[in-house]
Amino acid sequence: MIETRQLSRIYRRGDGTPVTALRDITLSIADNEFVVVRGSSGSGKSSLLNILGCLDTPSAGQYLLAGEDVSGYSEEQRSKVRSRRIGFVFQSFNLLPRTTAVENVEMPALYSDSPVDRQRAMSLLERVGLGARAHHFVSELSGGEQQRVAIARALMNGPPLLLADEPTGNLDSTVGNSIMQLLTELNAEGQTIVLVTHDEHTASFARREIVIRDGMVASDGPQDQSRRDA
């Protein structure tokens, strides 16, 4: 699903001095994996997420998404790749205000090549357990419900890759756990998931953990089962 080869990202500060956010990241994520990218604030995990999500381009190195080299893609091309291949889940849900749940779920279809399929949106809401609240406005939903809507939205265009950025960061632990439970189920149904977090407990739900430190991969391996049960 994902291949990166010596990916690096260098920002320029206002005064022109370069800052290296990512250095020589080489990793490979297979289909159906559930991978956590963990790192503290400033580790470069957000920069990595932006590149993996095709929101940003690497300064050097290669990024292959589903076999397609997207490293040198233009804005326009990356928009299309995001539309087809990537579903985003954000920490702050980022649902559109004054809009119903089902309208939010349908939204990505507006920018895809296929027509808006309300039935699909409804069944996705069913899948995340919100079928009954499809026509509620976002403001009428709880945080956990909003995140479920966001997950359904991320799945609308049937993307092979689901990218979640601190999906439980704004939720209390019980609700957070249920969201992680949902993601685990989706993974069990075959959805490839890459989840970025700084939180060890959240990280424990994944089967594989990549730790980023100072813009480099510090460790990459299967989760310690004992920690997951803790």
């Binding site: 928009s79 995001r82 985003f88 809009t99 939204m107 507006l110 808006v116 991320a154």
Partner: protein, 406 residues
Amino acid sequence: MILGNTVGLAWRSLVRNKLRSFFMMLGVIIGVAALTTLASVGEATQQETLRQFKRMVGTFDTLTVRPGASATRGMPSLSVVEPTLKFEDGAAVAAVPGVRRVARVQQVFDLDVIYRDRSTTPGLFGASTEWADIRGETVTAGEHLTEEDERSLARVVVIGEDVRTSLFPDEDPLGKIVRIADVPFEVKGVLASNGVGPGGSSLDNMVVIPVTTASKRLFNREYLTNLIVQVEDPEQSDTVAERVRAVLRERHRLAESAPDDFNIGSPRASVAQVTAVGTTLGRVMNGVAWIATLIGGVMIMALMLVGVSERRREIGVRRAVGATRGDIRLQFVVETAVIAGVGGLLGILLGIGGATVAALLQKLPPAYLWSSIGMAAVLSVVIGLLFGLLPAWRAAQVDPIEALRS
């Protein structure tokens, strides 16, 4: 992204932000309402002018031939016109193909008409019998002049409603003898009222006598003040006018190089002249309405720009799920256009209401200038598209990474 979806999206945004949308539209609503009202009030006034003109002239399918080279404004009087138009010219013009009939007229404006101790100074028309037919005049009492009256130089008169009220306020005028320039005339009929002409003067302050009587018994003049020529097909009036001109030039033996010693006018042309003038005030107000609409566009743009910064997160999300810059640009342009278009629509409704009220206040039948109203509608959408460009461009520039950073 499909345009229909975008319009739906824009509509949803408008409906769910009613107050904001209303304020955005306000300028366009006012501007377009003003444009619509002004255009329609202008149209109603113009139509009224046309109606008044028609009442004065009778029909629109006529040409008026007057003596003298230059077109004179208003009604010619026998004492001031050149003696170039003769009775026989009338007969000759009547024979021109395309001419239905011709009325020969001698008119004078400063003659007293006296009945016992009462007196009035109406317009006096010496007119052949065709006159009443062409103008569609009807009598409310008695009867019209006849050809027999014309042949016998009868001293009979048909009076207008104003003359009846001033000379015969409470008696039956029929058969009574009035004196015109000391010549006795018997009242033969009373004309139905024609109301008020352009400029507000009464069309009923007149008397009609046979044109032959006027010529031989009153004025001793062998020439006419005008010929009223009714054409068979109003569409052909220009062609017929040319033929009439040729006939008259030949009859008057005018050399090739000599100018016409008569002129031919059509009410159509006169009305065009009257209504084309327009008022300076009207134009100024129209300009103000245009400016108001433009300011409305600027208001929309300003509020949309604010909207773009408030909706950075929304833009970021849309970009993240696959919207291209073009999609975002389109969404914002369409949104502005929809807001301006709806504003324009509301403005038109308001303007139609305003025009109706204005017409009722002026006691005119309301008229709506649909071409201007349609243009106002198009204008509002164009303004929306135009002033939507900058906000849309700004929206498309939003960096999704920045926008999504929480």
